[in-house]
Every structure is written in structure tokens, then in C-alpha cells.
């Protein structure tokens, strides 16, 4: 059954060195606070899965925590490149990392297959694309009914997935709304799921019945972290901090500046600092 825990304990209980882990969020609801807690706890040799690795994987890769990344778009959304990830791929700094690259369709199908308990995903994809020749996990199979040749990729089954969501009720059911991305599939595909939320409410009785709800028995732990997706946004709570995305481009461009930023804003910081980071963004939401 789901546990309500402080973020520090929720991360310590569910993430381990060498794990395959997904911190998902599709531009919206990125679990930054959870990723920062993982960085503070110093995990090593992680396999990081994420459709759009974004700032938090740039940070984890830059801190040398990743053995491998599985992704479909290794960019800084709306800004450009991820410079720490590039340094690792191009120069092996601070360590060489293994790369498994897919398309968004490939990753989305693989998560869905993971959630469905299937060994692989089958879809019409990668035709003529170079990825199929550099990624041995992109293969093909023939439809037994039509004879059509289709792409196949292994399903994604993380040891643990982290997501951020708007709210949980007192029983631990979790509500996600707005751009719902791949959040539900990431949770259902994983062995364990940790959710950070903006707030706990008594119940969801007054809400529309078709909102995306993850029942409490699909989640291992919930931690309340207001502002926990900063600098991304939480629909209905606060807006995207675009200045932070632009600033990251400069911070991550320099190895020493990166280290100094991480020391001040992550290592010497805590989950409690996130609420303050979004105060000025709440009125814009």
C-alpha cells in the first residue's frame, strides 16, 4: 500500500545503485525535486530512461550518476542542446555513457507495452530512419495476418519511476491533469513508483470523473513537494520558468560553473526550497 513519506525517505526506500529508473514528465510536471534528492543521495551506475531527458538528466549525467541513457530527444525544450549530456557523449566526461536512442513513437509504445505487461511493442515506425541501424533494440517482425513488416522494440520496465502530479487524496490516489504525457504509463510500467505532489486534498469527490487518476495501489510512495516540478510547470499551480531553461544553457556550458551551481542549488539545498522557487510563477499560471 502507498506510503506518505518525506521526499528524502521516499527516494532512499525506492531507488538503489544500478537501478533502471525513469523520471518522466513531458515538458509539464517534470519531477525535478525528486531528481535533486536522488543527486543528493549520490546514486551510481543508473540507467536513465526518459523521452525528453531535459535539465534533470543533464544534471545527473553531469554528476556522473548515469551508466546508460535511453531517450528519444536529448534537448533542452524550447532552448536547444543539453551540454552536460553532450560532454558525456562526445568526450566521455565525467564518464562515458552508453546510449540507446529511439523516436518518441518508439518510446511511447515501449512504455505502453511495459504498462500492459508485454515483452515488446509493435508499431509502424522507423521506416528509412538511421536509428534502426545504430540501435540493436530496434528490430522488426511480420504481421501474421497481413504480412506487413512492423517495427518492434523491447518494452520499458523500470525498477522505479518518478513522476510529479497535481494532487493526491488522503487515501493516496493521485490525480494528473493538463498535458498528461507519459505519466500514467511510466508508473504502470515500473516495479515501483514514487509520486511527488503539490498538495494533499481530502477527496476527489467534486472533480470530473474522467480525470487521470492513478489508484493508490499502483504507487509505492507519495511525497508532498510544492513547486516540485520547477523549472517546468504544474498546470493550475504555476507557470514554466523559461528564464531558468535559458540560464541552464549557460550554466551547463561550463564544467566548473555547473559544479558550483549544483553544489549551491542541489547538494546544499532541500525539497523545502522548491516552494519558494515558484512563488513568482504562481500568478502567471
Amino acid at each position: 500500500m502507498v506510503k506518505f513519506l518525506p521526499l528524502k525517505e521516499a527516494v532512499a526506500e525506492n531507488l538503489h545503485d544500478g537501478d533502471t529508473v525513469a523520471f518522466e514528465g513531458f515538458t509539464h510536471l517534470i519531477p525535478t525535486a525528486a531528481a535533486h534528492e536522488a543527486i543528493r543521495q549520490g546514486f551510481r551506475d543508473l540507467t536513465l530512461i526518459r523521452m525528453t531527458p531535459d535539465l534533470i538528466y543533464d544534471q545527473m549525467i553531469g554528476m556522473g550518476m548515469a551508466r546508460k541513457i535511453v531517450f528519444s530527444y536529448v534537448g533542452n525544450p524550447g532552448v536547444g542542446l543539453l551540454r552536460r549530456a553532450r560532454d558525456a557523449i562526445e568526450n566521455g566526461f565525467p564518464r562515458a555513457i552508453e546510449v540507446e536512442e529511439h523516436s518518441h513513437a518508439g518510446m511511447a509504445n515501449a512504455y505502453e507495452a511495459g504498462a500492459a505487461g508485454l515483452p515488446c511493442a509493435v508499431f509502424r515506425g522507423y521506416r528509412g530512419a538511421g536509428l534502426a541501424s545504430v540501435n540493436p533494440n530496434i528490430r522488426s517482425l511480420t504481421c501474421p495476418f497481413s504480412g506487413e513488416v512492423l517495427a518492434a522494440v523491447p518494452s520499458i520496465r523500470p525498477d522505479v519511476s518518478f513522476i510529479h502530479a497535481q494532487k493526491a487524496d488522503r487515501k493516496g490516489n493521485v490525480l494528473v491533469e493538463g498535458i498528461i504525457g507519459i505519466q500514467k504509463e511510466a508508473v504502470l510500467a515500473a516495479k515501483r513508483a514514487v509520486v511527488t505532489v503539490e498538495e494533499i486534498v481530502d477527496n476527489f469527490d467534486d472533480l470530473h470523473p474522467n480525470l487521470t487518476v492513478l489508484p493508490n495501489w499502483t504507487v509505492a510512495a507519495i511525497a508532498v513537494v510544492p513547486g516540485g516540478s520547477h523549472p517546468s510547470y504544474t498546470h493550475g499551480y504555476y507557470a514554466r520558468d523559461n528564464a531558468a531553461y535559458l540560464e541552464w544553457d549557460e550554466i551547463a556550458a561550463d564544467r566548473d560553473r555547473f559544479q558550483a551551481w549544483m553544489q549551491k542549488n542541489v547538494i546544499e539545498s532541500s525539497a523545502a526550497d522548491f516552494a519558494g522557487r515558484v512563488e513568482h510563477l504562481r500568478k502567471a499560471a
Binding site: 509539464h28 528519444s72 518518441h104 509504445n109 505502453e112 521506416r127 545504430v134 498535458i179 520558468d241 523559461n242
Partner: protein
């Protein structure tokens, strides 16, 4: 600077407006960020009010008042007819054949509309690691047609791309058909200097219209392959006052909306 600017608009504005004109109200368009996004929204705000704009974050039928900074901005969701999960977006809507136009940008492009946004140099040991394909590999093959827009440069428009992020016409001719791809692929390329269409047989992009004040020499000087020009070469009509005002108002609204949080850098 260029002749186009003397006429009161920039080459980039001409590119965006020329691209917007290619879109129709009945189109269902899978929109990439940046220039494609601006073009699609100008079309929606001028001659194609009923166009359906779809962003890969799951927003269907969105009508943002300002241009999004990324494919997942809240504004896209708030103004959409509906918002679906990402697997549904790629399975039901794109793979299901419900997109008429996939609108892509490119870091590197060749004469057959093949696009690279993955790496410069060797894949295993890249000179520059770019973000990669995201939704593009399947947008390029599952959309009924693909439009491409980019500013011309010798670094961007190359004889041979370093990596096939998304397949255009391959080596030309019937290469798509031979791979079992039954969609039309790139049917239009709009640059800051010209409008290009594929030759019906070879599928090589051919200049069919030069933007006002642009010469053949300028097009060739900013392109890495030997450019073919159509026999009957048109001149792209200059932006109308309505088109230019719509684009500039959209960009001004975007800038104002993101002021303070965006340091003035808009999509």
C-alpha cells in the same frame, strides 16, 4: 541588408508567411516548434481559421494566443479541443493516418528531403550531438504529406546528410515505395529565399518560386548542392499587410507574454 528588407519585410518573415499560405482550413497539421509553429498559427489567424493544429505533447485542435516556447506549454492544452496521452497521440492520431501535414524543421537537409537532427559526424563518435528525432521519424512517414521549412545555408543544405533522422525520398525516385512507405513524403520546402517542390519523377527538390528580390545566385550560394530551377520560375507574392501584421502581432504578443520569464527570447 537584403533586397527583401528594403521592401519592408525580412527573409524570415517571407519564409513564415509563404509557409503559412501552403496550409488550408481542412488540414490537420502536426506542428514542430519554431518556424513551423509560427507559420501554422499565422495560417490559422488569416486564411485557414479552421485548421487543426496538433502538437506531439498531446494537444489536438489547439489555438494558442501566443507562440509556445516548447511543444508542451500550458497554453496549448488550455486552448485545445482535447488533450490526449503521448502514446495515444502517436498510435491513434499519427500512426492511424489522421494527420494530413507533418511540418518539420531541419538541421541538415539534402536535395531529396532527407533530414538530420541527430548528429554531425559519426554516430558513435559525433562531432556534435544534436537533440535527435523526437517525433520526426514517424511524422515523416505517417503524415500524408511533409512540409519542411528552414533558413538556407551551406552547412544546413548539404550534398549528403550525416544521419537519416527522418526519411524523405531517400535516393529519390520510388525509394519510399520500395521501403513500404505509402505516404507522399516531403512535397514542399520553404526557405527564406525560395519555394521548392520535388521533381515528379526524380523527387529532387527544385526551386519553383523565388521570394521578392531574391536571385538564382543567392539561392545557389547558400545551398550545398547544384540547384535545379523550374523552367517557369515564379516570384513569391510579397506578404500582404494583413499577413505581416498578423505575424508581427503574434510575435509581439508572444514576447510580451514571456517577458520576465523568457528574457525576451521567443520561439
Amino acid at each position: 541588408m537584403s533586397d527583401a528588407e528594403n521592401l519592408g519585410f525580412t527573409p524570415n518573415e517571407m519564409m513564415t508567411i509563404a509557409a503559412s499560405r501552403a496550409l488550408k482550413s481542412e488540414d490537420v497539421c502536426f506542428v514542430g516548434i519554431g518556424a513551423p509553429s509560427a507559420a501554422c498559427n499565422v495560417a490559422r489567424l488569416t486564411h485557414a481559421p479552421d485548421i487543426t493544429l496538433i502538437y506531439e505533447s498531446g494537444t489536438i485542435g489547439t489555438a494558442p494566443d501566443v507562440l509556445p516556447l516548447s511543444i508542451g506549454d500550458g497554453e496549448l492544452c488550455e486552448t485545445a479541443v482535447t488533450t490526449v496521452a503521448v502514446p495515444e497521440m502517436f498510435r491513434y492520431w499519427l500512426q492511424g493516418g489522421r494527420i494530413s501535414i507533418g511540418f518539420l524543421g531541419a538541421a541538415q537537409l539534402d536535395r531529396f528531403g532527407n533530414i538530420n537532427t541527430t548528429v554531425i559526424g559519426d554516430y558513435a563518435h559525433p562531432k556534435t550531438r544534436l537533440p535527435g528525432g523526437g517525433g520526426a521519424p514517424e511524422i515523416a512517414t505517417s503524415s500524408k504529406e511533409v512540409y519542411i521549412t528552414m533558413a538556407q545555408s551551406k552547412r544546413g543544405m548539404v550534398e549528403k546528410i550525416d544521419f537519416f533522422t527522418s526519411f524523405g525520398h531517400g535516393d529519390g525516385g520510388d525509394h519510399r515505395k520500395r521501403l513500404g512507405i505509402d505516404t507522399a513524403g516531403p512535397t514542399l520546402l520553404i526557405t527564406d529565399l525560395a519555394i521548392w517542390k520535388p521533381d515528379p519523377v526524380t523527387k529532387e527538390f527544385t526551386v519553383v518560386s523565388l521570394h521578392p528580390g531574391v536571385t538564382r545566385e543567392q539561392v545557389q550560394a547558400t545551398c550545398g548542392w547544384v540547384v535545379k530551377f523550374a523552367e517557369a520560375l515564379d516570384e513569391t507574392p510579397a506578404p500582404t499587410e494583413l499577413e505581416l501584421t498578423t505575424l508581427r502581432d503574434l510575435q509581439a504578443r508572444t514576447k510580451a507574454a514571456h517577458e520576465g520569464t523568457a528574457k525576451g527570447k521567443a520561439a
